[in-house]
Symmetry: C2
Subunit: 325 residues, 2 copies
């Protein structure tokens, strides 16, 4: 049967759920998948990691910028990054979504395809095992993800000690630059920077690099900004982070052309601001006791004290605040 | 420091989270509680049950009827009921909440108190281990709950076979009656029926009765209506459910006075319609191979075939549809 052009309120809950689940890979890890009161997941051991993250239309995203598939992708990526930031392998996701009643069923199907694509590209061992669809005035996407520590210790924000090396895995500032490009009055500009725009719409956290990586003493997902999230890690570990701007030049360099393009159209942006204060890359802030493996870039050191410093100057803990922005 | 009268956007994410977590009992089961990228929970065995449920302002609740504490209570109760309906002991909850920026911090604190009160009253072994607060146009509450099967088999909707007894644990129709009383133009009416109103605002699923209860062959949470949820169990088990209206008279009788009160004020309601088609009691529909233990009420039998019948007549699968209502 075809539901082309129909809205979710026209087809009802039962069909909307069925047409959504159709785009999700049947569960392998789940002993019981979606369709009962709850799913049943089996892990390698009797512990599990659990985290939840919410995205709200008009606040965290705009429908003229992100497609349904983009939003499904991003919701999965940000939650899997939180699981991996504990050193755990992502296993299951449950997805609660609130949609205006007039939302086309095709949009919901596109969203489901985005969920599955992110899993396939970022972490094929994970799966969507359940969810809930409701109606409301604006789109809200609330994803909860679980992970298996597979016998390892959880990697906390509080594990950094003086002498450790501060390292980053993944991109910095690209997501923020991509957003500024898409918000430019020159609507043709975004097309010239597909990588930056792509990171904003579909973040690429390097999950495999950080899960089970030897020697990490503390770790967190950089979702709100390098400056703000560093201040959180410093506080949790009761240490000072001393960052070195020279080590950030590489992140800055790849954003300079985009900043110039924006500047020539009247919008002034600093590549270093994107790197320090831009969120949504969903990269990883880590500390290592000794030289990190390939894929991690050292950007500073851990010292006794508190707060975050850049080249010896206090770095303002500025970034995304989910309630004040 | 006092934040009296301040809104969540005035105090910001960090303080809002801290003031919320303050009302939640410190985690015992969680090896890592809230405050890191994710929580770490330990179970008795390497399986866990997971479910999610969403409540939307104006759709699932109204702020002139439910307090913050009521909503916290109900969100917990409905999710714990889904976990218990699998035969699992609830262990952890993560709570994502979207609030208008002008929401008072005191409302959020009241909501947190309701979360904890429901846990204390319904299932003290569970705990809130994490969450997320965001801002939006209307309140959305998305809770995910996990449970421990403690070595038992999960109880599915699909386990009923002909010859089983159809039984209910918990109330039927009280939540729907309570809602109609609160929506009456006579605003003094609700106060005369504190029990019915109480079940609507703070459902009382008999969790302990159904978790690990011997001999249950199939089970589900009755959230949308006895008629609709029975049709789902019948379909999942590929059987017919034959219900007997005489066995429902007790549920009906306790609602008759409320129906008369409404009738005398011009609102006609049928107690049997509340019992059959009213949702939100979060009671349990179960099937047993033999006589159920105390606390379960037999309302019918399982036969070969399909669909749900009341006194031999097909029963319309009418109830709450989260997208069409």
């Amino acid at each position: 049967m075809s539901y082309q052009g129909q809205s979710i309120s026209e087809v009802g809950e039962s069909i909307a759920l069925k047409e959504t689940v159709r785009h999700l890979r049947p569960a392998n890890r789940a002993e019981v998948g979606s369709g009962d009161d709850a799913a049943v997941i089996r892990h390698a051991e009797p512990r599990f990691v659990i985290t939840t993250d919410t995205m709200v239309e008009g606040k965290d995203f705009r429908l003229d910028i992100s497609s349904g598939a983009d939003l499904g992708y991003k919701a999965v990526a940000s939650n899997l990054a939180d699981v991996a930031a504990m050193g755990a392998t992502p296993t299951a996701l449950v997805v609660a979504v609130v949609l205006p009643p007039a939302t086309k069923l095709s949009w919901l199907e596109d969203f489901a395809k985005g969920l599955q694509l992110a899993i396939d590209e970022l972490c094929p061992s994970a799966e969507v095992v359940g969810g809930d669809i409701a109606t409301g005035d604006q789109i809200v996407i609330a994803v909860t993800a679980t992970g298996d520590l597979e016998g390892r210790e959880a990697v906390l924000r509080s594990g950094a000690t003086p002498g450790d090396l501060v390292c980053v895995a993944g991109t910095l500032g690209k997501a923020a630059a991509g957003l500024d490009l898409m918000l430019s009055p020159d609507s043709s500009l975004a097309a010239s920077y597909p990588e930056l725009v792509g990171i904003q719409l579909r973040p690429q956290p390097p999950l495999e690099l950080v899960i089970a990586s030897d020697g990490i003493t503390a770790m967190m997902d950089i979702s709100d900004s390098l400056a703000l999230d560093s201040s959180r890690l410093a506080s949790a570990s009761d240490v000072k982070l001393e960052l070195d701007s020279k080590s950030l030049l590489g992140y800055q360099a790849v954003l300079e052309q985009a900043a110039q393009s924006l500047s020539s159209r009247g919008t002034e942006r600093s590549p270093m601001d994107w790197v320090l204060f831009g969120g949504e890359d969903h990269s990883f802030l880590t500390t290592f006791r000794s030289t990190p493996p390939k894929g991690f870039k050292q950007i500073g050191i851990v010292s006794p004290g508190s707060g975050v410093y850049l080249d010896g100057e206090p770095l303002e803990p500025r970034g995304w605040d989910s309630l004040s922005n």
